[in-house]
């Protein structure tokens, strides 16, 4: 069954990112995959509320805002997804008793928004210079009604899916996903197939991120000279 935008089942949408476009935050990144575009701004390490203060590491806080409407429990759920993924990747032990605040704003939503949020967060954290253990990238797969599997679905493709699978992997650890959210009605074989597809998509996304960061550093060092 052909996809509306004529992509292959394993083909992700064109990736695009802009780093450091916000000048008030410590780091920012706008990550786009096709028509899905997510902006992330990071403050850190900054002052922390007494209640949240941790003696041995930084407190990680995530705020996620949807493109339309006020934040609801749906967005709280995404905040939890991003926070649990980055809580260990951020080397918080280097900045105890501080706060790293991650603000994610969906600019345009067209499917795979959760994955885009995680990708934008990685880039924003790098842009802010916050020490990370590894880079994390995410991808989404869906199983369509005819049981075919496609990667990086648009909203239209995701709405009609039997099950949705979002996987996040770090570039250090290949045997274990950093985050998994598989929902719907699926078999373990479909789960494994989606795992593999997402892992391949994440590899490509990580390579893209590496190129983007290299480009930014190159530009900065050239202007300094």
């Amino acid at each position: 069954m052909a996809r509306p935008d004529r992509r292959d089942p394993t083909q992700i949408r064109a990736l695009h990112c802009v780093l450091g476009q916000l000048n008030r935050v410590d780091g920012s990144a706008q990550f786009s995959a096709g028509d899905t575009s997510v902006l992330c701004g990071v403050y850190g390490p900054v002052d922390v509320k007494l209640y949240d203060e941790k003696l041995d590491r930084a407190h990680i806080e995530v705020k996620f805002r949807p493109d339309i409407g006020v934040p609801t429990t749906k967005d709280k759920w995404v905040e939890d997804a991003v926070r649990s993924t980055f809580e260990r990747e951020i080397l918080g032990q280097l900045h105890p008793r501080t706060l790293v605040q991650i603000n994610v704003q969906v600019c345009q939503g067209d499917g795979s928004v959760d994955a885009a949020a995680i990708n934008a967060t990685t880039l924003a954290l790098i842009d802010a210079g916050i020490p990370l253990r590894a880079m994390v990238a995410a991808a989404t797969c869906v199983v369509r009604p005819d049981h075919s599997i496609i990667v990086d679905p648009t909203q239209e493709e995701a709405d009609s899916a039997l099950s949705t699978h979002t996987f996040a992997f770090s570039n250090l650890q290949t045997n274990s996903p950093a985050y998994v959210d598989s929902r719907g009605e699926f078999s373990i074989d479909e789960y494994n197939a989606c795992y593999d597809m997402c892992m391949a998509a994440v590899d490509r996304t990580l390579a893209f991120m590496r190129t983007a960061v290299e480009g930014k550093i190159l530009k900065e060092t050239q202007t300094a000279l």
């Binding site: 809580e87 274990s176 719907g184 009605e185 494994n192």
Partner: protein
């Protein structure tokens, strides 16, 4: 030689002051502090119909964790976009009554995330079209309140089982809309139960101290967990949810093993729900 009283006091103190070390003493010896095997779940009890004033209710106990679910049904107008569908709103309440971890006031992050997750899961269970009284005019709106009374770890599993039992227990009076007056009247003598699309069976596994995978972690183990894996199976042999949070290592063979253990757990929960 210290007396038994002094020894008990010493153990409690040690547990408080060095929680990680305390757990390691057991986990490194292939056992857990309450004597369970790594992949052993606590005793699970389900009682349906515990709240007389609710249309559907259930109380679930997993070890010391106690969760009550009550479903109240109200009549309301349907959404313009879905004129033949009713509503199911799920709300998980984690308050200071269940554990010192929670503060009074508005629902915290954990409660909101649990509420949202359960809402998404049960979208597959309840057919909202069955809640229609009169197309485009009147539908049933179900409010499911899942209140944790005692939290000793793994509240999410208990919440899912409680809502599952409450939805199975749900009895809706026969309702009809009088077209002349626009009033919906309910006949309590005739009650219908919902026909569910499927039944869900959850199983939670936690990676304690980044090294030991245990099933159904209690509060002490949960605090030291670096990753949590929730597996939800349905009654037709398929998976409904695999949710891994936290960046601890849970590799592919381990996830497969957890799914197999979840199948065993399904039998236990299924018989508890009878």
């Amino acid at each position: 030689m210290a007396s038994t009283e002094q020894l008990t006091f010493a153990i409690e103190t040690f547990k408080r002051i060095h929680p990680v070390e305390f757990q390691r003493r057991f986990l490194s010896q292939d056992t857990r502090h309450d004597g369970r095997a790594f992949l052993q779940f606590r005793a699970t009890h389900v009682v349906k119909g515990t709240i007389g004033t609710a249309q559907g209710s259930a109380t679930v106990r997993i070890g010391n964790t106690t969760v009550v679910c009550g479903i109240k049904a109200e009549v309301s107008e349907p959404d313009v976009n879905t004129p033949d569908q009713g509503y199911l709103a799920t709300n998980v309440d984690l308050s200071p009554i269940c554990s010192a971890n929670y503060r009074p006031g508005a629902p915290g992050d954990e409660a909101q995330v649990d509420s949202e997750h359960i809402f998404r899961l049960f979208g597959e269970v309840v057919d909202l079209k069955q809640l229609c009284i009169e197309n485009d005019q009147a539908v049933w709106s179900l409010s499911a309140d899942i209140v944790c009374l005692k939290s000793d770890g793994n509240v999410l599993d208990a919440a899912i089982i409680a809502l599952m039992a409450a939805v199975e227990d749900l009895k809706l009076p026969q309702a009809s809309l009088d077209p002349a007056t626009g009033v919906v009247s309910a006949d309590k003598a005739i009650e219908t139960q919902l026909t569910l699309r499927k039944r869900l069976f959850p199983a939670t596994f936690s990676l304690v101290d980044d090294a030991y995978l245990v099933a159904d972690a209690d509060d002490a183990e949960e605090r030291l967990a670096t990753a949590t894996l929730l597996v939800v199976l349905d009654d037709q042999g398929r998976l409904a949810n695999v949710w891994k949070r936290g960046a601890g290592t849970i590799d592919r063979p381990t996830i497969a093993r957890c799914i197999a253990e979840a199948k065993n757990r399904q039998n236990v929960v299924s018989s508890a729900l009878e």
